[in-house]
Amino acid sequence: MFDLVQTYLNLKIAASDSICSALSPISPELFVNACPRFFDGFFVTIELLLLSSVLGFLIALAVVLARVSPNRFLSIPAHAYIYVFRGTPLLVQLWVLYYGLGSMGAEGLGPLWPFFKEGWWVGLLTLTLNTAAYVAEILRGGIENLPHGQVEAAQACGMTWSQRMRRIIFPQAIRIAWPAYGNEVILLMKASALVSTITVMDLMGQTRTIFSRSYDLSIFLYGAILYLVLAGLLTLGLRLVEARMAIPSFTQAKSSRQP
């Protein structure tokens, strides 16, 4: 495990070094000097994004199952969770969890303190909880858009609730929801810039710190370009997954409905 982490760290440094030296002949001096810092932040943003989108997706699965469940003790809390996280700004959520809960300190938070102590962990937690609410809503859309006849047919075949979910509903819902999910991942990437307000040195944090030393506006443009590169990579990755998941007859049936 430790080896894996060390290899990853080395890989990161090597990647940042080689990209920066490759870019240096064609970049303005201001960028060349700040390049390692930009890439430091670039990787922090990627790490936060990958972890929060994967964890958020898993939580969203649980939340959406509770949300569509006929049991009110499950569906009402799930609804409330989605409503609160989608109804308030992410920046407020970040500050409630970081400065609000953090003000309780080691005495108030006990064993949770080492976790809440670090901006990075609080950032990861907030991004995860936030995106889970949005993804749950997207998945619910996918589930509720399925023709009801299919569910009835599955019931008639004698499938249990979990069998229906696993075999009929979920495989289709995820394919219907995938484009919207891809959108959400890009939005999450952009939203992750807000963790720079709770001391995390992500791409935005580095960009702002570099800017605060030189007051040169082009620093923001370099930061923006790196975000755009990341958005491009993500879009590509999401399309690859979509293509891999595609079932010819299913996508055909879907597209035939379009004018």
Binding site: Y99, G102, M104, G119, T197, T199, M201, F211
Partner: protein, 250 residues
């Protein structure tokens, strides 16, 4: 008699004219401060800006017979705002640095600053040399944060905050082990926080605090400098100083 009357009338007209001219010339100065850097500049519950910087600004404006308006501006944008004419001067405990002098001009210093490290009492930390492996906070884009990044960045975990008060709250909460800060606001904060203390010695960074103005605005700079000299000489400065610190900070 007629002659005398005429003179009186003439004098009156001249007086009225000069008074009018003086009124038209009353300097209008917009001054920016941060409002989050006690005891130098901060906001009270009524929303008013108060503090040492504000008192100095008011004393200078009174001396210059200028009409001043104070605005609060976050630290990150305070220099770009001056350059872009959002306001005419910054009285916000700003250090005079060569980097800043490339974009703005400064008056003579109105006080001097050292950095100092603060930590919890009984932390066992002995000073700035003793911080490797610790997490150390500072406010982004201040002399303190640049010093921390340049001197501690390799060995310690330096965390940067958008405002000084945000860094205090994390020191208070125990999120960071130590904090590098300008000495005066730290002194003020320690007055109300028994559990914390200064560790080590003053970090002398040859740091003079001045009023920032636009580079070409020499008229305003000279006016500030003259007024500053007057309030130093007539005791107004000492009075304001004593209101905040038991020692001379000039």
């Amino acid at each position: 008699m007629l002659k005398k009357l005429l003179t009186v009338a003439l004098v009156a007209t001249i007086a009225a004219a000069t008074a009018g001219a003086a009124q038209a010339q009353t300097m209008q100065i917009r001054i920016a401060t941060e409002g989050a850097y006690p005891p130098f500049n901060m906001k009270n519950a009524a929303g008013d800006l108060v503090g040492f910087d504000i008192d100095i600004a008011n004393a200078l404006c009174a001396e210059m017979k200028a009409e001043c308006t104070m605005v609060a501006q976050d630290w990150d944008g305070i220099i770009p705002g001056l350059v872009a004419n959002k306001y005419d001067a910054i009285i916000a405990s700003m250090s005079i640095t060569p980097e800043r002098q490339q974009s703005v001009g400064f008056t003579e210093p109105y006080y001097s600053n050292y950095l100092h490290v603060m930590a919890k009492k009984g932390s066992g930390l002995s000073g700035a040399d003793d911080l490797s492996g610790k997490s150390v906070g500072a406010e982004r884009s201040t002399v303190a944060s640049q010093w921390a990044e340049d001197n501690l960045g390799r060995t310690a975990d330096v965390k940067l905050y958008d405002t000084q008060t945000a860094a205090y709250s994390d020191l208070d909460a125990g999120r960071i082990d130590a904090m590098v800060s300008d000495i005066y606001p730290a002194y003020d904060w320690l007055q109300s926080h028994d559990g914390f203390e200064f560790i080590g010695d003053n970090i002398d960074i040859d740091d003079k605090i001045g009023i920032a103005i636009r580079k070409n605005d020499t008229e305003l700079r000279d006016a500030f400098n003259a007024a500053l000299k007057t309030i130093r000489d007539n005791g107004t400065y000492a009075e304001i100083n004593a209101k905040y610190f038991p020692f001379d900070i000039y």
